[in-house]
Point group: C2
Chain length 656, copies 2
């Protein structure tokens, strides 16, 4: 065999190449020759691409050149995708996708023992849940302002809450209580994140038992759970959490009071008709059965007092959760109701904590409640009767400041730094800007199409920033290239700092149906680049007892159990040959000993469904039974270096 | 109880609102008042946001105003995310995320019987695979040009190929053969998509058995599978497919010949050293063991002749696949090798089919092979010896036209419409533009950082378009806001129509590690908006025998089996109350009878891990056992109308 060496690098050059890779790992290197691109003429480009003056303005407000950073970070729920989407504003680029309720292999979430433990926390009635329906993210707050440390998200379908740590953007915990069978008024946090609020949506017998639907009014109930957050541990503490029974209205959204209203929680509802459908049994469908009354009920909860009542043990334990029953809530004056016009879908406390805005989706108004008046009516026991569950009802006219005619299908409200409110208007597909002081609509901007939630920059905190607002539109229709019957959502970015408001970007979002989002100033965040020390367990947030150091790699057999202590570093796993016998239990302990930014590896064994992502410093454990004899390659799934493809080995399962 | 009606809509107004929704479903409606935004001054915005003239040019080349469409569609593999990402060019917005190897609940992929059947096709050795490592998508071709009908993708980890139908962007089929244990040279199609090429990467005993690693040279083998595509059925036909045994080099990438070279397939390789690591057993790691030789082997396969040999039955069946063994391949002259400098990582046939470009990652050159010379040497049996497996080796110097000095770590090559080639240069982080005719580098553009594959507009077809090229960069480092240790990839869009080339967009991509992509002119695609007729099974691509029509909804019990025939339409499911007994087998048959564009619903039963996406016209079946008694709400998971939250019902499981 004769090989011609034409320009091939000798074996001695490999070291040079690998060194170059290490440099790349530590920071940008210089290329030998770099093009300097000429700027095409603005006028030519406008003509060529059919851009208007407004388009040019929008382009320049959103375009973020290479290496420049975004000013805000938006955390959007992923709807029934079950995961969370992190978006830079104003560029509207997706910066991260965070596995929460649905396994996601790129980040190794749900693959490997650590993250599998997190998903296992979310099983219900002994059954694994393989997805979630994420609705409302809530950033942790300090004094009513986002602090950039944690974010909480709910799963409406399975009544779960997850905690994502923003130091590494990893889901650390999932909690659930079988007390309730769905949640929608979740998650919302108290101003110092003492509690995370989760209220049920569809009533059911508390604790998950069966009751005939005909006994809906007597046996079905709603509930709200107050999950205690232990900030030091970064975990929700079930042992310090409690719940309150609620009537079987369909509790919808919630909000925590702040400043003047701190210590109170507000939850709206629909279906005070207590309809339950039954169409093929001769009843009207819920959509009309639940839309008969002119008013539904806003729930006003004295959380501060409820905490005392719960601490005093005046609770009944159901499904392991201490519950303040309605009878106790009534006796202790913890819960009051007030009418809210017609199937409302948002309750949003104003930045000063003095007022609440509620919009009824079958009403054309936003209603502004005065917290002072609510409190006054409660203290004066100024009741307008009680509901059939004995809950006192406050007189609507005595507790509102007024109403604003918004339009067809108003839903959710956010705030800016100039005393304005912004309300999404679903049916007419607009966002209405209105003056909180004057209760007058100032302006509307059209969106495409059917806006649900909106999110403004820090727009639900004590100090909103104004500037940007995203309309989270439910239908996309003709906005984007056709991609088959399932369309993305459309997030439209609106400059609310300009007058009039200016629509500046359309962002298709095909990763679930985000319901709500929160937008935080980017400079409040300080995530880490690398896990230190190497051998870091991302779920316990501490060095793993199984961490492996370079030169200490080994394979240990005890009976039919094989422990493999492995490291990864560009561009090899050590060991790279693993020999086991069929039916051995295999415990892989893999530490990525890299400490360079972005030096991520992946690990997979073909046909064994074994996979993991190994960010720099991360340790993972993977446990499985070698139940199939054969010759199985393993390799690195992240293109980590020029010799990435050579970062491989064999998992050899000998016959017994 | 006294309710004040302040502006609340009466019950009679509900009908009006619902009608409005239907109108929305059919097309955009007009908003009452719409802002006309003023254009901010370009100079002001440049100053305010620190934009250069080049940035303004880039912004205007990429910004795509609301309602305007993208010119190209890019299909990117999702790496170890396992799914496919669809991106609009030049806006670089993600238009769709297509579930392929990993379940994805937003699109209901892997949730419900139909898509679960597709995932089940991909099990290996009786084990379910819950993810994949997708590398190389291949659009279907007609006469060597993309036809926009199908796309094929591989799973390197588990040696699988999937077929995605671009009429609805849904995965219809997964095929796998236990013949091989990984694939990398997949997927590549012949010019009329007669065959889809899948070649192995890491050698193993053919068929998946065990053999000691020390017998690597004797017992381990590579192979290439030629999957026959039945275009009429839109499916790969295993019964018409066959494979060819290859020596145990690590076959890497492949390409099919076209025009002059049609009927031939080329596969490069590394590790002709046949190293297998064994570090803790005293061997060098594979990264150095596999990098000793100055040359590796390009494989040249006469596919046309191989088809005849396979049809003649000169095959051995292994793991159910007819395999042309090496001995036969040699006897029939089907396989030849030729040296290629040093651990190559790309083989790319030129648009005219006359030449092949190979780059060695440990070599600084691109080598240009002449197909005519290769064919001439084969016909003349101008051999430079044979390898230890009896495969003839062609003399390197006799079959190349020349080499181009590219830079450090050249990998992959694409083409434009002006006779230029573009090669990614991994270690120096550039894309090099060079003249195919002159074999001279014309220009380089710097990218950030470590570019793997590149994709140009239709850049691997017989008629590349030029215009756009995306550098698929492996590291992101300082390009975007910090999001923890796991970083997105960076897709950088380059205008290759300008001279010099101009970097015009940075796109973070946090959905796996895309390896390769293909970019097709958008006007070649014609996906449907709605499934017709309603009751469409998206896997059989025909009306489902279980399709349900409005007014024909029903619940049927046979013994302990309950069949529920359900429809969905804004805003109710019919039936909305389902009563079963514990341990009943439940078969849900749900048809979304909507025929309006974007009128998608979702269906979930809480705590039962039952979920589905119901695009307009789609039918799904969901089978499960009601093994937990209780009261379980079900509801629509897509915000479909103003009364979406009321689109709910109850799944009631009575005790036995």
């Amino acid at each position: 065999m004769r090989f011609n060496r034409i320009g091939a690098l000798g074996a001695s050059s490999i070291g040079v190449l690998l060194s170059a890779m290490v440099i790349v790992g530590c920071g940008p290197q210089q290329a030998a020759q770099v093009s300097q691109a000429p700027a095409s003429s603005t006028a030519d480009l406008m003509k060529q691409r059919g851009l208007s003056e407004a388009d040019v303005s929008a382009a320049l407000q959103t375009y973020t050149p290479t290496g420049k950073k975004d000013e805000y970070i938006t955390f959007a729920s992923g709807g029934h995708g079950g995961n969370m989407i992190v978006i830079g504003v104003p560029s509207m680029r997706i910066l991260k996708y965070v596995g929460v309720f649905t396994p996601e292999p790129w980040q190794g979430y749900g693959y490997g023992d650590q993250s599998q433990q997190v998903l296992d926390m979310g099983s219900r009635f002994g059954k694994d849940m393989t997805w979630g329906d994420m609705h409302h993210p809530a950033l942790s707050e300090t004094k009513g302002d986002y602090d950039g440390k944690y974010i909480f998200v709910n799963d409406k379908a399975n009544a779960r809450i997850a905690v994502v740590d923003l130091h590494d953007f990893v889901t650390k915990q999932i909690v659930t209580s079988e007390l309730i069978q769905s949640d929608h008024g979740a998650t919302f946090v108290t101003p110092n994140t003492e509690y995370v609020v989760e209220s049920s949506q569809y009533p059911a017998p508390l604790g998950g038992g069966y009751a005939p639907i005909e006994q809906f009014q007597d046996k079905y109930r709603g509930a709200v759970i107050f999950w205690k957050f232990d900030r030091e541990k970064g975990k929700l503490d079930k042992s310090e959490s409690f719940a309150m029974e609620l009537p079987p209205y369909m509790q919808d959204l919630a909000d925590a009071g702040k400043l003047d209203s701190e210590g109170w929680v507000f939850i709206n509802s629909f279906n005070t008709e207590m309809a339950w459908g039954g169409t093929i049994e001769g009843n009207p469908p819920m959509e009309s059965g639940a839309s008969q009354n002119d008013m539904d009920y806003l729930h006003i909860i004295n959380l501060k007092k409820a905490i005392e009542v719960a601490k005093a043990g005046k609770t009944t334990t159901i499904a392991g959760m201490p519950v303040i029953m309605l009878e106790t809530a009534n006796a202790e004056g913890l819960l009051h109701l007030v009418g809210e016009p017609k199937s409302p879908h948002g309750v949003d406390v104003t930045p000063d904590g003095k007022e609440l805005v509620v919009s009824g989706k079958l009403d054309t108004h936003a209603t502004v409640y005065s917290f002072e008046k609510l409190k006054g009516a409660i203290e004066a026991k100024n009741y307008d009767g009680k509901d059939r569950y004995g809950v006192p009802i406050l007189p609507f006219n005595d507790v509102i400041r007024g109403q604003v005619e918004i339009g067809l299908g108003p839903l959710h409200t956010q705030y800016d730094d100039k005393g304005n409110a912004y309300t999404s208007v679903f049916i007419e597909s607009t966002v209405a800007k209105w003056s909180l002081k004057d209760l007058k609509v100032l302006e509307k901007v059209k969106v495409h199409y059917n806006v649900g939630h909106i999110v403004a920059a820090e727009g639900d905190t004590v100090s909103p920033d104004g500037k940007y607002l995203i309309a989270m539109n439910k239908w996309a229709l003709d906005r984007f290239n056709k991609v088959g019957p399932l369309l993305p959502q459309n997030f439209q970015l609106i400059n609310i700092g300009s007058e009039p408001m200016q629509l500046i970007y359309d962002m298709p979002l095909p990763l679930g149906e985000p319901h709500y989002a929160q937008m935080i100033k980017a400079d409040k965040m300080s995530p880490v680049d690398v896990y230190k020390p190497a051998g870091y367990d991302v779920v316990t947030d501490a060095a793993s007892p199984n961490a492996v150091k370079a030169q200490e790699e080994r394979i240990e057999r005890k009976g039919k159990t094989v422990d493999v202590y492995m490291t990864s570093v560009r561009s090899h796993f050590t060991p790279d040959i693993i020999r086991v016998k069929k039916d051995d239990t295999v415990n892989l302990h893999i530490t990525n000993v890299e400490q360079a930014h972005d030096a991520t590896h992946g690990f997979t064994i073909g046909s064994y469904d074994v996979h993991s992502s190994l960010e720099p410093g991360k340790h993972v454990d993977i446990t499985f039974v070698a139940d199939k004899e054969g010759t199985f390659p393993f390799y690195c799934t992240e293109f980590c270096s020029a010799l990435h493809l050579e970062m491989a080995g064999y998992f050899l399962v000998e016959p017994n």
